[in-house]
Symmetry: C2
Subunit: 589 residues, 2 copies
Amino acid sequence: MSDLSHKWEELPSKYESLAGRAFTSTIVAEEVDPTCHPLREFNKFVVSPGLLAGTFAPSSGRLSVGGKSPLTGGIKEANAGGLTATKLAFINIRGIIIEGIPSAGTKDWYSILLRKDKCEIIKTNDYAGIGLYDLLTKIWKDYPSKPGIIGCGMAGQRLSKGAGVFGNNIENTDPGRYAGRGGLGAVLGSKRIVAIISDDTGGTRPEPKDKEKFDNGRKKLRDALNEHPVTGRLKDAEGNPFGGLKNFGTNILQNIINEAGALPTKGFKEGRFEHAAKISGEAVHELVDKTLENFGEKSEGIYGHPCHPGCVMACSNVVPYEKTGKAQVSPLEYESAWALGSNLGIGVLHDVAELNRLCNDLGLDTIETGNTLAMLMQGGLLKFGDGKGAIEALKQVYDENSALGRLVCSGALTAGQALGVTRIPVVKGQSFPAYDPRAISGIGVTYATSPMGGDHTAGYTIAAEILGIKGEREDPRKLEKSDLSRAFQATTAYIDSTGYCLFIAFCILDMDEGFGGMTDTVNGFLGKEIDVTEYGMNILKKEYDFNRRAGFTKKDDRLPEFFYKEPIPPHNVTFDVPNEELDKVFKDF
Amino acid sequence: MSDLSHKWEELPSKYESLAGRAFTSTIVAEEVDPTCHPLREFNKFVVSPGLLAGTFAPSSGRLSVGGKSPLTGGIKEANAGGLTATKLAFINIRGIIIEGIPSAGTKDWYSILLRKDKCEIIKTNDYAGIGLYDLLTKIWKDYPSKPGIIGCGMAGQRLSKGAGVFGNNIENTDPGRYAGRGGLGAVLGSKRIVAIISDDTGGTRPEPKDKEKFDNGRKKLRDALNEHPVTGRLKDAEGNPFGGLKNFGTNILQNIINEAGALPTKGFKEGRFEHAAKISGEAVHELVDKTLENFGEKSEGIYGHPCHPGCVMACSNVVPYEKTGKAQVSPLEYESAWALGSNLGIGVLHDVAELNRLCNDLGLDTIETGNTLAMLMQGGLLKFGDGKGAIEALKQVYDENSALGRLVCSGALTAGQALGVTRIPVVKGQSFPAYDPRAISGIGVTYATSPMGGDHTAGYTIAAEILGIKGEREDPRKLEKSDLSRAFQATTAYIDSTGYCLFIAFCILDMDEGFGGMTDTVNGFLGKEIDVTEYGMNILKKEYDFNRRAGFTKKDDRLPEFFYKEPIPPHNVTFDVPNEELDKVFKDF
């Protein structure tokens, strides 16, 4: 971006099997000075579609973005669905590495347009400073081929640490797909880039090297996903939908985690929220049914839609306005409903949906922003439970001269510290998601040790501790969780590289056909055998090493003090995993 | 404070020679868990008068306060003049160690009252939430013996990281004495303490063990201080005052450092400020003359007053209102005039004085707050040069619901990050003072390596690089400054323990009698020989080790990226000291 130029590079053969997170983390670890300022010229913004993006493998179209995080000061990968991974795969792009920043003091904003064998850096000042719903509508009008789009909104354009990287939904211009975490939207903003537009006109679908193995694998995985109770389309004896991402979206977890006493409520003060049911996946489901009825249609209880082309799980929901039938926000994920709902003591579904819609429009990570709003509440600028107040605070972001608006975008650590809050739920500067580590210890081990900072997706031990694997559940209160967390973190690093959605985890853990399907597709695509754990650990090692070179020590692999000292109701437990157990996770690095 | 109790302890013999910074840093290093949250129950707030406080040694009544800093996350000592050190010495108190916090959720505020052989913890809710000018007037009304007072203002009470520890002036109730740095006011606030009141009624002056040596030493030092051009009272051939702290206060440096091209201007953008002269010590001097004339008195050009009893330098000035003759603020130090003036592009003396007065009233460190206001200016919430705007922003602090007010108190790092500023002049989270390290490399070495974070007083190489020692000046642009900085840091750690004001440095460096006077008083007081460098290095090692245990690495001993990359006019230089040179400073630790 320093001279607004680009060049093409052939993928070096040593990078052949690196895609998604493996690609972004390798490039960042090798090319970015770990001590550089994340929002100045020496950081890089790296984009890479998962390995199987664009293929017929089911649910494999995720996109990774990476860089040095302005939120954590460490390495960061965030991923999301949307159209871009598939589009890039079709035009044969394994990765985009954005370097430098335009000359100091420029007021211009740019977009990057990628087409088959073409790249343009275009001045697009009219794309900056507007809401993302408007921006995406504008871009699809400017580019009628309906390209994939990722980019940053107002928050990222102002270099706010709560800024995520948005992506467009696949069938409309809603900015509903967020590689939200780590403030990577601000890295794009620092490079004066609003949007990266990927058009696959004239492109072709990627071909696996061993087509037979690949096809065999994708069918096995597809069938496993369709059969599994979490990812399949299931009905009970009376024909009513039950369980499952497809029926209730990820937000089915709201009631489950609340029941487990691990739903962080009112700024991690309690483990149960009295109004959890009102903002749960079931409540959204009911609202959809009612709305469809209002408009003369009868829902079959199935309204999930996919986040990327070729996803068979299709777990995305919509929160409609009853009176118009139009979408208020789409999707409302569990993490967002928690962060902007239970975590703030807000139990009004439309208030939560509105907060999510505003985050989407402004380019904000919902998890970070929800935690930041909780800091405002603890710091006395808002009241817990005040949905309207939270909405007004978030709307302040549209006014760039509002100090409150800036604070709302700045991430929980910065806002919490500005407000004198001593209960800031972060590790390495990144806010915790929707599982209280006191009630579920393994996820706390992941929060503490992941090179990504506080992050559930980095090693989702909840699958073992709450949902159970092959019918067996790990005791959520057991303290020896280093092996469990490491295993999840390694497998996750692999999955995050393949393009597969992390939600295949449920079926690959429970069903041998699922796991085999996953590895067969990857190995079939590459025409060689990859060891899942070795591949994942290799990525983690690069990430861990980057952080160490950035100045991180074991002291950064700890939870905040209050988790060790303040028991959380209803179980009245603290986080008791000893430091030695935490340090076992990456003892070999 | 957990159970509002106290106990007295005899000073253990191993601590006999530890006072001031040596005392606070030893207690913090030995008793505080370096990984604890600085604003929760496990931090301690430690107070200690310098070793010679209360004695007849000249200019030896400084007070140290210490703890784990909420601003840096490392160990912190800050010191100031005022009455308290002398009062504590008279009632035979070497140190105060405040532990714990009152039970969670309490709204009560406390003060600690120290008298001869008595300590009370008193509920003083009427002392909280008010300006410090009013508070100190109230306390001297409540305690007509005119006790020493230290404490925290609104900023500290809200746990803001910009909060300093105030002390009272010696002859009035102005909160003009600040142990400002490191956010230690917030540590007091976290313990729900507004004021520590020290009354020496019935106390006695401390007696040196070797009175002859001590008396001989104090006379040598007194004479040397009076003769030295920086600290003495000098007139030129025509009888006009020239040079010297006594004539112009510390703010005599405004023109000197400006001339050197090292006066950080408009957020460290430039090294010269066109209006520096208007806010300089000379300008204050002229204003005082004019005001005195208005009121029928003729100034003799000497208006300095001492910051603590027994100071012969008496370098404190007053900025009066011309029309009333009353003090607007007292004193206006160089660092404050710079931080709130040149650094903000504000060249109107009364605006700068008003900003300082507001900081004093609110309990804010002027250096940290000036840098924070510069972040607001860089972040677009204010404009450089807008004195009235800065005053209004600072006044927002009186409204605890103002997000802008909270941001103003939160320190430059937090405010800068909230606002997307990538030029934040901090090391270890603490803002830089009034010397640009690009133009004067040695002070940059101190900023980078001091365990205190960005701090000029930790190793004031300016004395060698700008003012010169025994007529010789170190080249300010030479890069080999590790030995110089280490020598200054060690000697400073010693001086900060003796109770001596750091400004004796000029005469002890230039005059053998001065140095001998200093060591004779210390050795005479203790009745044993202390090696200056060994004593100082021992303190530094404890501090450095605390920080290492807190998670600091060599990566924390670096200046922010922009100092290495953006040349500063007029000399157009960057900070070029190699990391290896920085790491030499404490290579033996």
